[in-house]
């Protein structure tokens, strides 16, 4: 059986693409580079939208990227079930593209914050979190200036009711997110966005003092193999 192929998207200003590709490889999958300017998903089995400052995060984080040619392919594919994980800027792009509800706004502290953050797994039923236990705590780095999740009261209620809140911050909310939300999914759990960075927590030697990020990749691999 050939390895699962996970696409890693690079926009102008994407920063964590190399890290994402490495994490994908460490988990045993093949990382496939996807270029923002191509209308080509290269037949990948899943897509990772990594962090960074695509288009300098000018205007609003993710606002310009979501119009990229690649997104014209990705948006319909994701809507019909292609698994997509967006971290940090990737999460922002998913919200701007309306693949996930709500929006990410300036941190309440008004400062960029880089720290090792505890989060709780609220949903282990999504495509990207099945390797975790519900209620499990993870330590992942966060590094962002605009990570405060906001949505209308109705949307929030629906997210909570449908179990679409996938991660919540514990031990202190770093950005003022509503309901301490660190990550959410779409209704079917195939699209997940979160502010923390699993790709920076996959090796002992570098990055955060944990390897909790590996679970995201083992989750998607398990899913792809079972399909």
């Amino acid at each position: 059986m050939s390895a699962a192929r996970v696409g890693v998207v690079t926009f102008p200003g994407t920063l964590d693409d190399q890290d994402a590709a490495r994490a994908v490889r460490l988990a045993g999958a093949e990382a496939v580079s996807l270029w923002h300017g191509d209308h080509d998903l290269k037949g990948v089995d899943a897509v990772f939208l990594p962090g960074g400052f695509s288009y300098g995060d000018y205007l609003r984080c993710g606002a310009i990227s979501r119009f990229a040619p690649l997104m014209e392919e990705l948006i319909p594919a994701a809507k019909s079930g292609l698994p997509v994980l967006g971290t940090c800027n990737g999460f922002q792009i998913l919200c701007e593209a309306h693949l996930l509800p709500g929006a990410l706004t300036r941190n309440a502290s008004l400062h960029y914050v880089c720290r090792d953050q505890r989060i709780k797994v609220e949903s282990a039923t999504t495509t990207w979190t099945s390797a975790f236990e519900p209620g499990q705590e993870l330590v992942l780095p966060i590094k962002h200036g605009e990570g405060r999740y906001v949505a209308s009261a109705d949307t929030l209620e629906a997210l909570e009711a449908n179990g679409q809140v996938v991660f919540r911050y514990v031990g202190g909310n770093p950005n003022g997110s509503l309901n301490d939300i660190a990550g959410i999914s779409n209704e079917t759990g195939t699209i997940v966005g979160l502010m923390p960075h699993p790709e920076h927590a996959v090796e002992d030697l570098v990055g955060a003092p944990s390897t909790d990020g590996l679970g995201f990749f083992t989750s998607i691999l398990k899913k792809l193999v079972n399909v």
């Binding site: 200003g13 000018y58 960029y112 570098v206 990055g207």
Partner: protein
């Protein structure tokens, strides 16, 4: 509008030129006339005035900086030495590292955010221009007193500027310094360091060889940034509709810089670059004269081809503009299509503005007439050289008188007072605004003694290696004020020690020399002494200076800052998995103090915090001891003998112990043999703390003995308090509270 051409200059030999307004002296102007055999055109004057400025020509410092070369130790590692955009050292396995530190002090005072941001941008482009991928940044910062009003304006802006620019480039910030002292109130220091990685055989140089090769300007378009001076030229001589006042502030576009980084790396990989130079201070003037001077010697440029952000710019202004995020490359004509295609892929505008010639002249045209025709070397390399007079400051002897300062009996309170003081308090308020994880190669970062990066995964297709590099910057203005010769050496010793305690072997040095006015003989003495001290110490320690930067005129009126040489040391570790982390990582380890403690309080943090006093002499410099200590640490790391370390510096053993406990919240119990006050707070150099597994202690002690490094068992890690038997006990929680609350309380 009338343009001052070479033809016109020849016809109007007596026309007065505003050289004085551009900061040029009469004799310098006379030399320009002598070189050209006529008066310069306004564009030529623009070029000479910026190229011969202190900033670009090093005219006051050159005679002293020579010592870095003449006294340089033998080093096989040195691939490119001083004189290029940045030095390059061989780090083994076919890899090379390039690194340099540079100041952006004055702009950061005027507009803290943009000043600091463009400081990072500038140093990153220097590293790129060597052919390297930038892989990390560091920032050494000095501000006025922490409670002074202007510090509250400057510091948050500077940190935000570094944060927004560096984070957006995807470069981890792996270390730096934040120091407060009222002497910096009108003159904050923002020194930015960048390190890059490249294959040893892929070094790029700033040179324009090969007649017929094209000169390409790429990156951002040129606007009226930082050309306050040039408007004098554009308006003074030639009638004209006096231009709007030009901004002195340059605004950075980190997104464009990120695109430039990726674009340059792809250009290098495609091998379509013959020579390359970044545009920093003096912009197009500097890039063209330097490239031409180091190449075949001639270049022809059509200034009308420079893409402008503001179409009203005059040629003089284009020549002096300091618009950011621009590079200049020399490209063979047959490679131009490939070059342009790569630029287009990355959305980086690129334009051919000229070509290399063999005339030995740099010729520029504007609207068809020749406005510049000079031998480029005269602007780039043959600037004025001053032997500025210097003498010891009048009050130096009195300053060096030791004063007996009263010592409190309550050492617990003294420790907490120091630990919570702005210079020793946790810098997390600053460092948490910097991305230290991006690219996932950060092995050590703040608050480690040195930053460390693995290199094998930096670039695709990299040769597998376990190697890593470590970097630290240090400087102590108080020490240097008391004795600039020793102060510079202590800065080097500390950075060297910080690198060594992580297990990396110190290899090479960069430095940023921040001083007052060179026209003040007392400041010039401080400068001369500092350079002499640093060069001597580099020779003894066997680490060459590979590059650096001088920043003069850091003064307000006649009050200069403390002389502040900031020294960066780069080290190499053969196996990053064997790096030694900072502090006490687990209970049950034996704690040892390496090195000798003397009664040394001149310039100490204790005297500063408790008595606001500066006097006496700084700690003794013992480079042989530093070398022994480094050898022990490097070998111990390679043999896996130590389970944690921490160097001793500001605040002495007391602060080192407290910080070691705070690393992981593991307490310690130690006992002292000498006078507790001296043992705890003296700042003797060449010392470090180590934590050793009990079973390895004997072997470690033997290693110390073999290098003649004193090793004193102090006690053991464990518990939830720092206990100095018979002297003090402080819970880790209280230490943490004291350590972490100071900066947030000051800056919000």
């Amino acid at each position: 509008m009338n343009t001052d051409s070479v033809k016109r200059a020849a016809e109007t030999p007596d026309e007065a030129m505003p050289f004085a307004e551009l900061g040029m002296k009469q004799d310098e102007y006379d030399r320009v006339k002598e070189i050209l055999g006529r008066r310069p055109t306004s564009s030529e004057l623009a070029i000479y005035s910026v190229m011969w400025s202190e900033h670009c020509s090093y005219k006051s410092s050159k005679v002293h900086l020579k010592q870095f070369a003449t006294k340089a130790p033998e080093s096989e590692a040195l691939l490119v030495g001083m004189g290029e955009n940045a030095g390059v050292v061989d780090i083994g396995d076919g890899w090379a590292a390039t690194f340099k530190i540079e100041s952006h002090n004055h702009p950061s005072y005027v507009e803290p955010h943009q000043g600091a941001a463009t400081g990072v941008g500038g140093i990153v482009r220097d590293i790129m221009s060597m052919g390297a991928r930038p892989i990390a940044v560091m920032d050494a910062l000095r501000f006025g007193g922490a409670d002074q009003a202007d510090t509250r304006r400057v510091l948050p802006g500077v940190v935000e500027g570094i944060s927004s620019y560096g984070n957006c480039l995807g470069l981890p910030n792996i270390g730096g310094e934040v120091v407060f002292d009222p002497c910096y109130i009108g003159n904050p220091l923002v020194n930015a360091l960048c390190v890059g990685l490249l294959r040893k055989d892929q070094i790029k140089l700033a040179t324009a060889p090969g007649p017929g090769n094209k000169v390409v300007l790429f990156g951002a378009s040129t606007g009226p940034d930082g050309i306050g001076g040039a408007s004098v030229l554009a308006s003074a001589t030639f009638e004209d509709e006096s231009e709007a006042k030009r901004p002195a502030v340059q605004v950075g576009d980190p997104f464009m810089e990120k695109l430039l980084i990726e674009c340059c790396l792809e250009l290098y990989a495609a091998d379509v670059v013959v020579g390359i130079q970044d545009l920093g201070a003096a912009g197009v003037s500097c890039a063209t004269t330097e490239l031409a001077a180091k190449g075949t010697g001639g270049m022809h440029v059509d200034l009308n081809l420079v893409p402008l952000r503001d179409s009203s710019l005059r040629p003089e202004e284009i020549l002096m503009s300091e618009s950011q995020e621009r590079m200049m490359a020399v490209v063979s004509p047959s490679d131009i299509p490939a070059f342009m295609a790569i630029c287009e892929k990355w959305d980086v505008p690129a334009v051919v503005i000229g070509e290399v010639t063999d005339t030995g002249r740099l010729v520029m045209t504007w609207d068809g007439s020749v406005i510049v025709d000079i031998p480029p070397g005269t602007a780039a390399d043959e600037g004025p050289v001053y032997e500025r007079p210097f003498h010891e400051p009048a009050g130096q002897a009195a300053l060096n008188q030791a004063v007996d300062l009263p010592r409190s009996e309550d050492l617990r309170a003294t420790l907490l007072q120091l630990l919570g003081s702005p210079n020793l308090a946790s810098k997390e308020w600053v460092t948490s605004q910097y991305d230290r994880y991006v690219r996932s190669n950060t092995v050590l970062a703040q608050p480690a003694d040195a930053g460390m990066l693995r290199i094998s995964e930096v670039m695709d297709g990299a040769t597998p290696t376990n190697r890593g590099i470590a970097l630290a910057t240090d400087g102590n203005g108080r020490y240097a004020k008391l004795d600039p010769y020793a102060g510079a050496q202590l800065a080097l010793a500390e950075a060297y020690r910080n690198v060594a305690v992580t297990g990396a072997k110190p290899l090479a040095v960069t430095n940023c020399l921040n001083f007052g006015s060179p026209e003040d003989p007392e400041v010039m003495w401080q400068f001369a002494e500092a350079v002499r001290g640093l060069a001597d110490a580099c020779k003894t320690l066997g680490v060459p200076v590979t590059g650096g930067n001088v920043s003069f005129y850091n003064q307000t009126g006649t009050a200069a800052i403390h002389p502040t040489p900031v020294v960066g040391v780069l080290g190499v570790i053969d196996d990053v998995a064997k790096r030694v982390r900072s502090g006490f990582l687990e209970p049950g380890l034996r704690i040892a103090l390496l090195g000798e403690t003397r009664e040394e309080f001149g310039g100490s943090e204790w005297a500063h915090v408790v008595h606001s006093h500066l006097g006496g002499l700084p700690p003794e410099v013992d480079l042989v001891a530093e070398q022994g200590l480094a050898s022990v640490m490097v070998e111990a790391a390679a043999r896996g003998l130590v389970a944690g370390s921490h160097d001793l510096s500001d605040g002495g053993l007391a602060i080192a112990l407290a910080e070691a406990c705070l690393a992981r919240g593991v307490g310690a119990t130690v006992s002292l043999v000498g006078d507790p006050f001296v043992d705890l707070f003296s700042e003797s150099s060449a010392r470090a703390l180590v934590a050793v597994r009990p079973e390895a202690f004997e072997e470690f002690a033997a290693l110390c003995a073999s290098h003649e490094v004193p090793c004193y068992g102090l006690g053991e890690t464990g518990g939830d308090a720092l206990v100095v038997e018979g002297v003090l006990a402080i819970s880790v929680a209280e230490l943490r509270d004291t350590h972490t609350k100071t900066l947030p309380a000051l800056f919000g």
